[in-house]
């Protein structure tokens, strides 16, 4: 059982707000989801199984040589930022004083 207050704490940590009625929907979904997982947790011998992070062994994973490669220019990368100055994204000052 997850309380509405706990759900609010999660959304707060995730840095967004939700409406009161949305928490009701979410709470119902948690009941459904946790019911599914309770069922899953009862599957015999599960704890001895190795978790599967990828569909199959990606045998060909290779790291590239440690050499500089061409990347995009910072001016270009910053084109999507709303407030930019001297190659940096500007946010409001968080420390008082000059």
């Amino acid at each position: 059982m997850v309380t509405i207050d706990e759900l609010k704490e999660y959304s707060n940590n995730l840095m967004f707000r939700m409406k009161e009625e949305e928490y009701e929907t979410l709470s119902n979904e948690f009941d459904t989801f946790l019911g599914w997982m309770e069922y899953i947790n009862k599957i015999e011998g599960l704890k001895d199984i190795e978790p599967m992070y990828f569909p199959f062994d990606l045998g060909n994973v290779e790291l590239r040589c440690d050499e500089p490669i061409k990347s995009i220019e910072s001016d270009y990368a910053l084109k999507n930022a709303k407030v930019v100055k001297d190659g940096s994204v500007i946010v409001p000052r968080v420390v008082d004083g000059e």
Binding site: M15, T32, F33, L46, I49, M52, P55, N60, I72, Y76
Partner: protein
């Protein structure tokens, strides 16, 4: 009809023809958008690189979660509604170099997290086969643009069934090759261990033609596979006599009052009889029902956990639809509050809960353990059989019914969600249309073992010939 691509190609003799086709396609795309809302962006400039590829001059559409340098790419999210990428996805780059002509970016369920086509920031996508019905998702606009006859193929992404299900609901082909067969570089991550690039087309041949162009190792995607050296389009006409298929009893044995589901299952058994008549063995196998019943819970656990982490970069600061605030934290909160729809927020909260240290063992790792058990059992079956065959869905495309369809619910049929197995194991998997129920198209799904992409397309092509599906045309 063997191939829309080849049919179009035969009419293209020079640059003038290609430009003419582009202009005609843009007109169709605009009509399609008025009727079905398939596109976020319809291209306003003609860009074509001459090539000797079979795709030279062929128009196509691209799901709006693939990066296209200089072209708006929104993920159908308000948070990214003015985002213009600074680089190309590998898929877009390969199609561009093959001479294919992009005509538009298609609507998806926001950030590809949904299966209804109702959560994109530009509105709901309607099904060209019946406008009162959903087309499914998340590759909703891609499916609509092909089903409506605007383009011969579209590119989508498939994390649970997001290419195959909308294809099934709209009477077209939806194919996702083996995990890593096509590079994911520049595709917005949803759940990285389940995400596949997929192709939507009218015919199996066209899906093979496009996969041949897109496949291959990409140094920019460490999960991409080395090319298998097979030209799939050359293998699709092989004889499949003597092949062995299976279906899973526990998935098809449905107790339901839904007449559409009953009719679909009847159609499926009729198809099985036809397949047996061409010398293909089809056997019923039994699969541990406790594992099958764990599919949806495991899928939500893995996908929500991965997506919460993957999308934490959407802050509105370096890019995105920034909403101002008194400090950077308030900017992020304002941006994410206004930028994400309710559904996305609910999925992120679930993912965050799953990833919390004290919950990981029971919620995340146990889901990954279930994934292994299912995949190991499937691999055993693929050692004995060439492929799995099942209806792609239980019912037909749902009617629009408010916002309920994407809420988690205990009322679900295994038959509606079994294609997730293809993502758990990274298997090549295809849905092809095989008939109509209640005057709506239904699809049949073929899934084969990992790396058996050519075989999957080959079986699908032979079934396509056997079925002779005539769903009618829904031209705009």
């Amino acid at each position: 009809m063997v191939s829309n691509i080849i049919e179009l190609k035969e009419k293209l003799n020079n640059e003038e023809d290609i430009k003419l086709l582009f202009n005609e396609t843009i007109k169709k795309a605009k009509k399609c958008n008025e009727k079905y809302n398939a596109f976020v962006t319809i291209t306003d400039s003609y860009e074509h690189i001459e090539s000797d590829s079979i795709l030279n001059g062929i128009p196509y559409s691209l799901k709006d979660n693939f990066s296209t340098e200089g072209i708006l790419t929104t993920g159908s999210s308000n948070l990214l509604k003015s985002y213009v990428p600074a680089f190309d996805s590998t898929v877009y780059e390969k199609l561009k170099n093959a001479g294919a002509v992009l005509i538009g970016k298609t609507v998806l369920d926001e950030l590809a997290m949904g299966g209804t086509g109702t959560t994109g920031h530009t509105g709901i996508v309607k099904n060209p086969c019946n406008e009162s019905r959903m087309i499914g998702g998340s590759s909703s606009g891609s499916a609509a643009s092909v089903a409506a006859g605007v383009v011969p193929f579209s590119i989508g992404s498939d994390t649970g069934d997001s290419v195959r299900k909308p294809a099934s609901y709209s009477g077209i082909v939806g194919f996702k090759p083996t995990y890593g067969r096509i590079s994911r570089y520049g595709l917005f991550n949803f759940a990285s261990s389940l995400d596949h690039v997929g192709i939507l087309s009218k015919t199996v041949t066209d899906a093979a033609i496009v996969t041949d162009i897109l496949k291959g190792y990409d140094p920019k995607d460490m999960t991409s596979l080395k090319d298998d050296g097979i030209k799939y389009v050359n293998e699709i006409n092989n004889d499949i006599e003597g092949k062995k298929l299976f279906y899973i009893k526990e998935i098809i044995d449905v107790e339901t009052e839904d007449e559409d589901v009953k009719e679909n299952i009847k159609l499926f058994y009729e198809l099985i009889n036809k397949i047996k008549n061409i010398g293909v063995t089809v056997e019923e196998v039994s699969f541990d029902k406790s594992l099958l019943n764990a599919i949806l819970g495991s899928y939500y656990s893995i996908s929500c956990a991965e997506s919460t982490s993957n999308n934490s970069n959407l802050t509105g600061l370096p890019f995105g639809e920034r909403i101002e605030g008194k400090d950077y934290k308030e900017i992020m909160i304002n941006t994410r509050t206004k930028g994400f729809s309710e559904l996305i927020k609910r999925r992120f909260v679930l993912g965050s809960y799953i990833l919390k240290r004290e919950n990981q063992e029971k919620l995340y790792l146990n889901a990954l353990r279930v994934r292994r058990l299912i995949v190991e059992k499937m691999n055993e079956l693929f050692n004995k059989y060439d492929g799995l065959i099942l209806p792609s869905t239980g019912g037909i495309a749902p009617l629009f019914n408010g916002n309920d369809s994407d809420k988690l619910s205990n009322e679900y049929l295994l038959l509606e969600n079994h294609m997730i197995i293809g993502n758990f194991g990274g298997y090549p998997s295809i849905s092809i249309p095989y008939g109509k129920v209640n005057n709506m198209p239904v699809g049949v799904n073929i899934t084969c073992g990992v790396m058996k992409d050519a075989l999957t397309l080959n079986i699908a092509k032979k079934l396509e010939e056997l079925i002779e599906y005539d769903g009618g045309e829904y031209h705009v």
